[in-house]
Subunit: 209 residues, 2 copies
């Protein structure tokens, strides 16, 4: 005997398939449509249906773009500095960096990180295309904006090795104490990194500046 | 300039409308469809589209049922005791009670709780139908399974008053310490209630049992 109507169970199961959505949360979402407005789901349904035909990948940066475009606006915009490239693992990392409004260069999405455990080798990532871009766009600085995880660090190292003799500036995002976090609450590794990469405010001017 | 393709922004906005889903979570859900499989959304879309025509309300208990049924299986099943009725606020409360496998009576969904602040008066709830059921089904026990909130308590009190002279057993769900919670971590009100409604294990047999 079904306690819930099959139409509702199916909706709960479909929500349950989403990442981080357990049975309870799936029930809450499904029930919201029942309580709120049975037809409210049409917007979400339409958005889901339109998704596959609505998005594509930039041929240059591999960022997510509208399906009818060839290149990302963040690449073609003349105000963006094409000689500076931030290398990110996933398309959504671009969104995070854009929200800071601090960056005016372009992006390059790797499409993942090197991970022998998950069977992801460097050849599967867009590293070849990155090396090509460095030449084509006369890139002068590469910001390796991958996570500070084992995969993120080793991917950054791999890219650094691939670029090798090319004389361009390569940087990583600064690691240190997050804004608003007290010293006493910082974890040891973060605090250790913050001490190691301490920022010099002033020093005696004894020749070796 | 849009950082994200409109098809993706729209999907994020649609997820963002769900209860308890903030912009970050909405992004995570939307991006899952991009990463996982662009067509994976079709299942959720189909479930959402099928929902309005797939569910209805039991004419007797107001539980959620398949649209092509008239009564809830939990009511028509001959194994369920129609003389015992658990009164709940929302249809999903039934699911919570059913999961315990401890209850073999029937249900009555009020469709909310009396709440002057939200403008919900007793007339808007299925209380009239409940009183009718008590007569029709010769109900002998009513379990007022509403929450221990102000609204839940006052709704239970209201129903109790409405039944008035009718000689039936009326009960509330037991309040006390949850299983697995240590005394020292229990909140004062819960602990107070647990002391007040302490369960007698044995007592001297001095006539007034």
């Amino acid at each position: 005997m079904n306690v819930l109507p099959p139409a509702l169970s199916e909706l709960i199961d479909a929500f349950n398939a989403l990442p981080g959505v357990g049975p309870r949360t799936a029930e809450r979402y499904a029930y919201w449509f029942v309580r709120h407005d049975l037809n409210a789901g049409s917007r979400l349904a339409a958005a889901l249906t339109a998704l596959p035909s609505g998005i594509g990948y930039c041929e240059k940066t591999f960022a997510l773009i509208p399906a009818d475009q060839q290149y990302s606006d963040l690449y073609t915009d003349p105000r963006r500095d094409k000689t500076v490239v931030a290398v990110v693992a996933e398309p959504f990392d671009i969104l995070a960096i854009e929200k800071t409004s601090q960056y005016h260069g372009t992006y390059h999405v790797l499409g993942g990180l090197v991970s022998p455990i998950d069977g992801i080798s460097p050849e599967q990532l867009h590293i070849k295309e990155l090396l090509q871009r460095i030449d084509e766009d006369n890139v002068t600085e590469l910001i390796l904006a991958t996570n500070a995880s084992v995969e993120g660090e080793s991917t950054a190292l791999y890219i650094q090795q691939q670029i090798g003799p090319k004389k361009i500036k390569i940087s990583r995002l600064a690691r240190g104490l997050p804004i608003g976090v007290d010293l006493e609450y910082a974890d040891q590794i973060t605090l250790g990194r913050a001490i190691e990469h301490r920022q010099i405010l002033s020093q005696p001017d004894n020749g070796n500046k």
